[in-house]
Point group: C3
Chain length 215, copies 3
Amino acid sequence: MSYDLIYWLDLFGVAIFALSGTLMAGRYQLDPFGVVVLAAVTAIGGGTTRDIILNVPVFWLADPTYLYVILLTALFTILLVRKPRLIPKRFIMVADAFGLALFAVLGTQKALALGMPASVAIVMGTMTGAFGGMLRDVLCNVIPMILRQEIYATAAALGGGIFVLLVKLDITETLAMLLAISVALSLRLAAVYWRVSLPAFAFVDQELTNKSSKR
Amino acid sequence: MSYDLIYWLDLFGVAIFALSGTLMAGRYQLDPFGVVVLAAVTAIGGGTTRDIILNVPVFWLADPTYLYVILLTALFTILLVRKPRLIPKRFIMVADAFGLALFAVLGTQKALALGMPASVAIVMGTMTGAFGGMLRDVLCNVIPMILRQEIYATAAALGGGIFVLLVKLDITETLAMLLAISVALSLRLAAVYWRVSLPAFAFVDQELTNKSSKR
Amino acid sequence: MSYDLIYWLDLFGVAIFALSGTLMAGRYQLDPFGVVVLAAVTAIGGGTTRDIILNVPVFWLADPTYLYVILLTALFTILLVRKPRLIPKRFIMVADAFGLALFAVLGTQKALALGMPASVAIVMGTMTGAFGGMLRDVLCNVIPMILRQEIYATAAALGGGIFVLLVKLDITETLAMLLAISVALSLRLAAVYWRVSLPAFAFVDQELTNKSSKR
């Protein structure tokens, strides 16, 4: 059964987004509990919005494991990363890309399982993937990633679309999920990488650190 | 029956707000799908918030027509408007005024139809009208129109209030709706026009472009 | 019965947050109805989010008293405070601290009464206390208080945690509530005070106005 896989992927996505929220928070010298709040908004903001719109019980109410994963991720990150301001923004973007791809496909899957039409399911997936990071960016007064030039919402929607397509082609849900996540993640990572490397393609190795910290 | 009229007005409002979201997005050089996301947030953000608070099924879940209207509006706008940065901000404000007036009255009507008291219905209308544009502005890191000097929330609340009043006076719902929308729209447009023209009323013709692009 | 106490505390919290929203709005020279909207978002944004996530009827739909309290608070504040720009930001922070402490404990209490586990109840309390002010700050394009250095989310979570603990120790709900509110409020006020006075503790009297208006 793929239910277990979905659950573990979901927890992994929560941890990844909590990490990205914690690192972003680290740039603002919050007190530790403020960091946990920002991590939580990033990690469960998308899925919470999805569940509210679909009018199903919000996923973390019945299973506080999600809250503990966020708390532990934030605390470990705070303890291990001593100088959050030195973490390149690109690292946050890579963690964010993982969360985006995972949640876009998992959100699409959940909406399909609830009997939503394909178009609504893809919107729900995009929202699950993008809204947590969007809330994080809005709170930090940063223009959200979804409003930047690189392929962001496109990657999420493509992941959801491929999942819908593969499921209609009668491929097993587990395989469809892993394929769709891989495509969305690759596209988003390629976009992040391309954006940084294109202006000076031949000089990537030397200039990588400067460029990513400049962003 | 006025249900058909409401449906078409609703779709028109969605298209108008999707246009305003697309034009706003055009200033940020997003990829096309990011534009669609911003258009969607603007177009259905208000009604979605209303339906969630009223705890009724979110209106676009059962009828994906809304999503297609947003998609098509955004794509047509992208294709037809080649230089979004040249569109004066005033144009976005006029499209926004149409959406505000329409949704304020439609939202009030929906809440009344669900048996809400008049005060709650007017709040729901104001929210339906103002929240989509508010989310758009927050995402774009712009101070929301609702927080600017011109009559904005007032126009929305007045539209809702007039609708409630006319319905209580036993005027047909269709007429009440059209009257209330007209008043709210006129008030908002007058406010937009007044703001721009007052400081140099005699010089409007020459200075119009500068002023509206300065804003 | 402590239900009446809860109701009055709730209305008091709404008034306090409406005051803080109105004062914040005063800095932007909105039209009066725009002020009311910002006051309302601040005052009922947190509890509305809580009720939506818990999937219970939103508290102000059935009892428009909340809306009237907001309306009256905003109008009185507008009439009495002639120069909102002269109000020191610290005053807004103190009103905000009251609302934060009150709503954090009341939100925790409501979630517990609905049978939520302690961890979820504390999250709900923190959200009830912090989200209204967070929405206010996001709308005003200000970095939310929750993302500032001073103990903010910590005070809310501590209030919720102490309430949970005291209730488990079989202390009466009323007493538990008042104790938990006092602790959260004291911690937050101490944090606000400490931040301002620490850098030049001996000079507080002379420098108070400069410092608080600088913030």
